[in-house]
Amino acid sequence: MSGNHVTVPTGAALRVKALEALLEEKGLVDRAALDSIVDGFETKVGPRNGARVVAKAWTDPEFRERLLENATAAVAELGFGGPEGGHLVAVENTSKVHNLVVCTLCSCYPWPVLGLPPVWYKSFAYRSRAVRDPRGALKEFGVEIPEKVEVRVWDSSAEQRYLVIPQRPAGTDRMSEEQLAALVTRDSMIGVALVRARA
């Protein structure tokens, strides 16, 4: 043990500032690179990327096949990727299967297509419950999956991260890819929501 230095949460800002200064002195990080990572996650990378992927999969059968075959390569076609995306796997919801994504041990998540995970995704409650009682967990998100539909739970890791392709809602045949993308929510790509057509 190295003393009580990690137990004062009010000191977190100071600790981080000191760490950054030390790493900068060693030439291991620089302010500009860190700024650009933060800016990327706050303004550029997010669930809108994933929504574009899903809408394209709904409208372009060949892209859908490539996505199911090798999602990392397929999303790169749309310009999404990065050194820390891990290997991306797309799992498709159908009338027979509903997919749900969790990271039971920490917070692995498909950054290039969804950005950083929401607070509840990292919560003890979700991580412990999604595998043990996925239907119950889904109910709390307001999603009732019929008994005849199989619920598959995917536990993420640093190497393998998942993107759910939700079912395309009925009555959207005339919608453009862009209009469809606007219907797709972040939660539907984690598997805790269904996509609904807006009236």
């Binding site: 800002a13 500032k17 790493l23 820390e84």
Partner: protein, 113 residues
């Protein structure tokens, strides 16, 4: 966009506000870990192993019915980052303490002038 809140799942955690980071230090800590793995100083998986250990400690606390303030995630994240840097002999605890003191003292000096 979401209309239904998963009440029980959210018990003990702050309501989702769709903020990427809830404080600037969280963003800096995240960026440091991402940058270190991006530039090959560690792998993300090495960092993740430390993160899992810290999250597991937090889970045990929660499972015993004592819930930490906030969601705690970035507190675990920061501990994991410090542990990784210590393991790699890049930043030890005493260097960190010294630097924190120097920053605090420099801050006080600024106020006095």
């Amino acid at each position: 966009m979401k209309t239904l809140q998963p009440k029980e799942l959210l018990a003990g955690t702050p309501l989702e506000k769709d903020l990427t980071f809830s404080a600037p230090w969280e963003a800096r800590a995240f960026a440091m870990a991402a940058r270190l793995s991006e530039s090959g100083i560690c792998t993300w998986d090495e960092f993740r192993r430390h993160l899992i250990v810290e999250i597991d400690k937090g889970d045990k606390v929660r499972a015993h019915g004592w819930v930490e303030d906030g969601d705690g995630y970035y507190t675990y994240f920061l501990r994991a980052l410090e542990n990784l840097l210590r393991e790699k002999n890049l930043v030890d605890a005493s260097a960190l303490e010294l630097k924190m003191r120097a920053i605090t003292e420099a801050g006080h000096d600024d106020h006095e002038h």
